[in-house]
């Protein structure tokens, strides 16, 4: 079970990194995530059934997510629609698109096809148990993605992203079009989310168009939980704490699912718990800020 928590935490951490990018760095609360996560899952499932190599399937899923993000950013930029509404529009449209991708089905099992995960597990057969093999695999994936993101935020383009969420005026004065940055940022973020969805589908053994319901909220909860774990302004620490937050979040959800019955909780209550977690996080950080002000 403990490997399960870590593996699921790591898979969802990819999505949480995407949510962190939009919510915290771009200051663009992006709800597209609820649609791009299952989109990654259904693209992956469909590609696997079509006999496409899993790695190419991942690329397709990432590309699909980037496309979804582009749509949201374009609606926001061109029609001057608030970001929340732009995200909801794309997310709603994606529901139909995802069913289309699955050829008018709502879900698709992956039990009979070979996934990237089953390949890895088979390659390690005799050396590692399947659980440990997937755990090591996802640790490596996350490490790679985290390093790539850290590096990206140290580039000239990445630094301007940092400034955009901070001070949009500064970006404009610097001769950079904020609309272009939002397009790239929301695109990349949803690419990560779709990638996360693609991995989730392979891990769970099926893709479902309802996989994304409330996923943005759980991503946000992971980001906020992470912020309690580490205090820093260094980008490597910021991305690390998102990953730790995602694992912690999954652990809390596991506790709720397996031991919640002691207090009469059912798995249906988990969404309520997620929401309460965010509210508590907000309250605590508000309190901390107020106290910090009082001290100063």
């Amino acid at each position: 079970m403990i490997e399960g928590i870590f593996v699921e935490g790591l898979i969802y951490a990819i999505m949480a990194l995407g949510v962190f990018f939009t919510f915290r760095i771009l200051d663009f609360p992006d709800l597209t995530v609820d649609g791009s996560f299952p989109m990654g899952a259904v693209i992956m499932a469909t590609s696997l059934h079509a006999g496409i190599h899993p790695l190419n399937g991942l690329m397709l899923a990432f590309g699909g997510g980037v496309g979804a993000g582009f749509v949201t950013a374009a609606i926001h930029n061109k029609l001057k629609v608030p970001h929340l509404l732009a995200g909801i529009l794309t997310m709603t449209m994606l529901y139909s698109v995802n069913i289309r991708i699955l050829s008018n089905r709502a879900n698709l099992p992956l039990l009979r096809v070979e996934t990237l995960l089953s390949r890895v597990q088979r390659a390690c057969e005799g050396i590692l148990s399947p659980e440990v093999a997937s755990l090591i695999f996802f640790i490596l994936v996350l490490l790679g993605l985290k390093l790539a993101l850290d590096l990206f935020f140290h580039t000239d383009l990445g630094l301007v992203f940092g400034a955009l969420g901070n001070n949009e005026q500064m970006v404009r004065v610097q001769g950079v079009n904020p609309a272009t940055l939002k397009l790239i940022g929301v695109g990349l973020s949803n690419g990560l989310v779709a990638l996360s969805g693609a991995f989730a589908a392979q891990y769970q053994g099926f893709a479902d168009v309802n996989l994304g319901q409330g996923i943005v909220v759980s991503g946000l909860a992971s980001v906020m939980l992470g912020e309690f774990l580490l205090r820093s302004n260094r980008i490597w620490a910021l991305t690390l704490r998102v990953i730790l937050g995602a694992i912690l979040f999954k652990a809390i959800m596991y506790l709720g699912r397996y031991y919640g019955y002691y207090i009469n909780m059912t798995p249906n209550d988990l969404k309520l718990i997620t929401g309460l977690l965010i509210i508590i996080s907000l309250a605590v950080s508000n309190y901390k800020r107020l106290r910090a002000k009082g001290d100063a």
Partner: protein
Amino acid sequence: MIELDAVTKTFNPGTPGAKTVIRNLSLTVDAGDFITIIGSNGAGKTTLFNLISGAVFPSAGEIRIMGRQVTFEPEYRRAMHIGRIFQDPLAGTASNMTIEDNMMITAKKGFRWPKISLNRTMRRKFAERVKTLDMGLETRMKVNVSSLSGGQRQALTLLMTVLSGPDILLLDEHTAALDPSNAAMVMEQTQRVIQERSLTTLMVTHNMNHAIEFGNRLIMMDAGEIIVDVKGEEKQSLTREALIQKFADIRKKAFENDEVLLAT
């Protein structure tokens, strides 16, 4: 360098709340000019800057910068030639990023690709620049800008603004939010970089002494028009009293009550 040709700006045109803040204003700024701009609140000084920088577009008239027609060109595009500093010391920097990250962002203009330029050479270059401020900030390059004082931030903003090599500098009361000693320090730095880089500068100020002391040309605005425009020798010999007299002659109203005086 900058030409405004019969520019008018009306906010909310065609509604009962219509307000004309710039009226048929024409202005030619020559390369190397340092123009100080004064005028009471609502005279249209900030709107004039917004029109030049492209933050708002005119209702009528034309704007040219460096010979190019830019009347409806978006702000980020003409920003390639313009450096602008605001009154608010928070407006020019990204608070929760380090000094060197901030400097890297402003080290060049325009879109950039994901490539890492902030290396050791760049860091040393930035530290050397910061050292010229003489604030000891060169030892705090990895500290978040939010921990700096208002004066330090505004001096840093000035340094960062000229880093990207603009041709035109727009200073919108950039010392007004600072205490007198910091204001004097930032003004001194301003004067230095303008001379070093021979920047064409427009400076809005509420401080009449600054307006008279600095620059080679002085413009006074009132109700969206330029009512006083002195340059050359007349500007050099200008006194406060002469300026007040000029205004009184034109508008025939008690200037003493005006805010321009109170702010000195």
